[in-house]
């Protein structure tokens, strides 16, 4: 789901950028492969999923971060708010790496590995998704700040997910029996965050409608309005976080 969100988002943004650099196709290809890998793995859970597409997603994401940082710093103004708002976004390639990492983690879990990155599985996956949620929330904060928080609902994705992330990180640090209340609370917050991703799409659709010409001018406004594919990454991460809490 995160890969799908990255795929459509980078497709839109790089389309807007006119695919000026051939490298701009890489995240598309990589996110598509990761998506295919994930789809295959979920159709045939018995067979081990290939690691390659997920590993590639991690690498392409890391390279993308490098490119985007370079692109940002060489613009006049350097590391300025204007460039953070409008230059190639730093958060997007990180999301691709995150999708790759989650894919790899799922693969390991599928193979029945007892630990991930030498941490207990529950804690590792919990921390990874918590970090992802916090990071995505940071990205939403930057972009909603750019939009001057003109709608009070724009505060939700910068307040709820960080709480969910903190609770998740806390709950995943203990075995489920040790902190049942914390786990329940974390789960509730994660569920709300998952729904936030859905509501976000509706709100972003309304944002597109508020552009000049509204949905009648969809071909332009889908590009210039708030991105429709962005909010579901909250749902994706919240679901992954929920899955982490299912682990013993």
């Amino acid at each position: 789901m995160l890969a799908a969100s990255v795929l459509s988002d980078s497709a839109l943004e790089h389309y807007r950028g006119g695919f000026e650099n051939p490298g701009m196709f890489a995240p598309l290809a990589s996110a598509a492969l990761a998506l295919a890998g994930a789809a295959r793995a979920s159709r045939r859970p018995a067979r081990p999923a290939p690691a390659l597409p997920f590993g590639a997603a991690c690498a392409v994401g890391a390279a993308g971060l490098g490119f985007h940082t370079y692109n940002l710093l060489r613009r006049p103004g350097g590391l300025s708010w204007g460039n953070l708002f409008y230059a190639a976004p730093l958060g997007a390639p990180v999301a691709l790496s995150l999708a790759g990492l989650l894919g790899l983690a799922a693969r390991e879990l599928g193979r029945g590995a007892p630990t991930l990155a030498r941490l207990p599985r529950r804690r590792a996956l919990g921390l990874l998704t918590a970090a992802g949620l916090a990071g995505t929330s940071l990205e939403a904060a930057l972009l909603h700040f750019r939009g001057a928080f003109h709608n009070p609902a724009m505060w939700l994705p910068v307040s709820l997910p960080p709480v969910a992330a903190a609770l998740l990180a806390g709950a995943a640090a203990h075995p489920p029996e040790a902190a049942p209340r914390l786990t329940r609370l974390a789960r509730a917050c994660l569920n709300a965050t998952a729904w936030l991703g859905v509501a976000g799409v509706a709100l972003h659709a309304r944002g597109v409608a508020r552009q000049m010409g509204g949905w009648r001018n969809w071909s332009q406004n889908v590009l210039s309005g708030p991105p429709l594919p962005a909010p579901p990454s909250f749902s994706a991460l919240a679901l992954a976080g929920g899955a982490a809490l299912e682990l013993p």
Binding site: R75, P76, Y86, G147, A148, H150, Q211, M212
Partner: protein
């Protein structure tokens, strides 16, 4: 083109809907309203809103039409020429100012309907230019007094600006974030960084995110005409709807011709022409807000037995000390495509010489901005500055997408001989037309030369080639200046005439000096302050 008034019958056009209407309160001419305001531009519309919201009865008389942006404004340079004040005026002096498109608006919203939305504050020292900087005259109010009203105007207009503006005292963050910089702005930015001077995105009165019924800017670049998107926060879409909601009446196509005085020497109302008919609106107070040419013209046209040389003119200063912003420009060709028509015309600014006082061979200051003229305006500039015509002009126009340039907003000195007077010629209403005489001082010329040199170096630093320069003027200010005493000014710090205490002025003609930035934010801040002052004076029974 024959136009019919749109307001009346209890309603006014809805600026946010094609063919839409909003309810409007109306007053009969015979009602003595608290305030009759002449002109619905930056000064008049803002004051109308403030006064109506303070509970006064207000009638606004506006010579031009009440536009509906969504249906009246077109993305067509030619069709949009009707937004300017194109009634006849005479112009003279050694450096006659071209009047019309580049300085005067016509219609509800005034010149803000087609302004470039640059919204900058004055440098604090300019309010005491004579005492602190040694030139011009001091204003009767200081920056600190105006600062809260600057802020009020910035909030009302939802200015989209940078998080930190590099010049001037720190102030609260602009309500909306800066817009994405266009390539023409990046040229200025690159040049400034290579020369080691600061630059900034321009704080603009067009929204970068939705606001109420305004959608965000679509960067189509038709800002020097009516913004048909309604992203531009003009007086027409910001102050007028608020004024109407608070009970003000706006009469469009109502040309004020004369202010009447009663036996006691107080203003008793305004003679105005609407629908081919002369009418008289009675009022307890009259406010003139017709901008720096029409305001003195109306006062001079209202001469009467008690004030034979014009209303509020016992000092003899009405019409004098006209200032304009000189607009020297430098243009260069770039190898890469710039496409400078994308986005608002002025997106990056350098105010270095407004704040640095060393290294100047002139008094005063100037700012300069990146440019984005549309093809027709560009062709006109190339033709008149380069004397190109025919095939040569066509070839020059092929470079349109590769051009970039910088134009200054350069302060000129207030001088008594630069002035508005009445000509013998009469307009279609039978009123004497204005004659505007203007000449630059030596200081004004030195400043322009300095600006041309500095901007040229910046364009070269940014990679521009084949530089050439142009001349222009923009905003017109002064002519009814505010001041501390009746013999050196026309009105006091509240915009209140020294001679006729229920006659007020609230527009660009108040400026004693013009500073090196675009004036509309200061005009609106002054209007907010005057509105607040009137409310307080009234509460104290001193109106």
């Amino acid at each position: 083109m024959a136009r019919r008034p749109r307001t009346g019958g209890g309603r006014a056009p809805d600026v946010f809907a094609r063919g839409g209407w909003v309810p409007m309160r109306e007053y009969p001419d015979s009602d003595e309203v608290d305030f009759a305001i002449v002109g619905a531009g930056a000064g008049g519309a803002t004051l109308a809103c403030k006064l109506a919201e303070a509970g006064f009865s207000v009638v606004v008389l506006e010579a031009g039409p009440f536009w509906r942006p969504l249906e009246d404004f077109a993305s067509d340079e030619e069709a949009q020429q009707e937004l300017y004040w194109l009634e006849e005026r005479l112009t003279g002096g050694l450096d006659p100012i071209a009047l019309g498109g580049n300085n005067s608006g016509w219609g509800v919203g005034g010149s803000t309907v087609h302004f470039s939305m640059i919204s900058l504050r004055f440098r604090p020292e300019w309010f005491r230019a004579r005492s602190l900087l040694g030139y011009g005259v001091d204003w009767p109010i200081g920056y600190d007094e105006l600062a809260p009203y600057y802020e009020e105007a910035e909030r009302a207009l939802a200015i989209s600006g940078p998080l930190r503006y590099p010049w001037g005292p720190p102030h609260r963050r602009y309500p909306y974030r800066e817009h994405e910089m266009n390539a023409a702005g990046l040229v200025l930015a690159r040049g400034a960084e290579r020369m080691g001077v600061a630059w900034s995105p321009v704080p603009l009165a067009t929204v970068s995110a939705p606001r109420g019924k305004s959608p965000p800017c679509v960067y189509r670049g038709f800002c020097n005409f009516g913004c048909s998107t309604n992203a531009k926060q003009s007086a027409l879409v910001v102050w007028i709807p608020r004024a109407l909601r608070a009970g003000a009446e706006v009469r469009d196509l109502a040309m004020a011709g004369r202010i009447e005085l009663d036996a006691a020497g107080l203003a008793s109302g305004v003679h105005y022409r609407r629908d081919e008919e002369w009418r008289f609106q009675r009022a307890r107070n009259v406010v003139v807000a017709g901008y720096a040419i029409e305001t003195p013209r109306l006062l001079l046209n209202s001469a009467c037995a008690r004030f034979p040389q014009g209303l509020a003119n016992s000092s003899g200063l009405v019409g004098t000390h006209l200032t304009t912003h000189a607009g020297p420009g430098v243009w260069a060709r770039f190898d890469e495509e710039i496409r400078w028509n994308k986005g608002p015309p002025n997106m990056a600014v350098c105010e270095h010489w407004n704040y640095a006082d060393e290294g100047k061979d002139f008094d005063g200051g100037y700012a300069f901005m990146s440019q984005g003229p549309l093809p027709r305006a560009w062709a006109q500039l190339v033709a008149t500055s380069q004397n190109l015509w025919g095939m040569a002009l066509r070839e020059a126009m092929l470079d349109y997408n590769h051009m970039s340039g910088l134009v200054a907003v350069a302060e000129t000195e207030p001088r008594i001989q630069n002035r508005v007077t009445l000509a013998a010629k009469r307009d279609r209403h039978g009123l004497p037309v204005a004659r505007v005489d203007f000449a630059y001082s030596d200081n004004d010329r030195r400043m322009q030369e300095h600006a041309r040199r500095f901007m040229g170096r910046m364009l070269e630093a940014a990679g521009g080639r084949d530089l050439w320069s142009s001349e222009d003027t923009s905003h017109i200010l002064g002519t009814c200046r505010m001041g501390a005493s009746p013999d050196s000014s026309v009105v006091d710090a509240d915009g209140r005439s020294w001679d006729v205490r229920n006659l007020w002025i609230c527009d660009g003609s108040l400026f004693p000096t013009c500073g090196g930035v675009n004036p509309s934010l200061t005009i609106q801040a002054l209007a907010c302050r005057i509105g607040e002052r009137i409310r307080r004076l009234s509460a104290r029974g001193e109106l």
